[in-house]
Amino acid sequence: MAKVRVSSEPFDLAAERAALTDGRADVGALAMFVGVCRDEGGALVALELEHYPGMAEAEIARVAGEAEARWPLSGLTVIHRHGRIRTGEDIVLVVAASAHRDAAFEAVRYLMDWLKVAAPFWKKEIRADGGAGGWVAAKSEDDAATAKWRG
């Protein structure tokens, strides 16, 4: 059963990794992904992440469960932050542990591809020049990325 957390607090990469491997020796591969807030060439100072409380956790857990059914994982952790996230700060973490590297790699990528299109989070830009920041537009390539996992 995956560990899922939706929180405004920062996360600790090393601690989350340790939680998946400490005290066991059957894990051969840890694949990890951290999504970080970019400044878009200096235009932004932060992103404001709105989310749908309750559904956000449920959707992440659903996608995580699909990954666990699809690959032999010994552990899976997904943490997604919300609220004001300054440039350079972490937004999302996925860690998958498995005996072998393919399962770990695939599971992390699956999670990220599906979180982008299914987890109810919305990013609003906070501009460096004080101007009104817009909502980040969804990308058609994110929809396309999920196509490779179907059938």
Partner: protein, 83 residues
């Protein structure tokens, strides 16, 4: 029945949630959008031509044809941009 609005939909409607009691003929998500469009000018601007609008029924993604009978919480929002 509670309706929630998020992100740009929330901003355009001017509400984050409202309590509604649609009549019995409002059976699907698409029906509900049409019904919401009739609630006034602001709602009409958002729901009359809801291109790209996404919905969830009781916190599960739902297509326009999904039934809403018995739902406690229906949400409308733009395409997601998390991750």
């Amino acid at each position: 029945m509670k309706v929630l609005y998020f992100a740009s939909v929330r901003e355009r409607v001017g509400l984050s949630e409202e309590e509604i009691s649609p009549p019995a003929g409002v059976a699907t998500v698409a029906d509900l959008m049409r019904w919401l469009a009739g609630r006034g000018e602001t709602h009409a601007a958002v729901f009359a031509t809801p291109a790209g609008m996404r919905a969830a029924v009781d916190r599960v993604h739902a297509k326009p044809g999904a039934a809403i009978a018995g739902a406690r919480e229906i949400a409308f929002f733009p395409p997601m941009t998390g991750g």
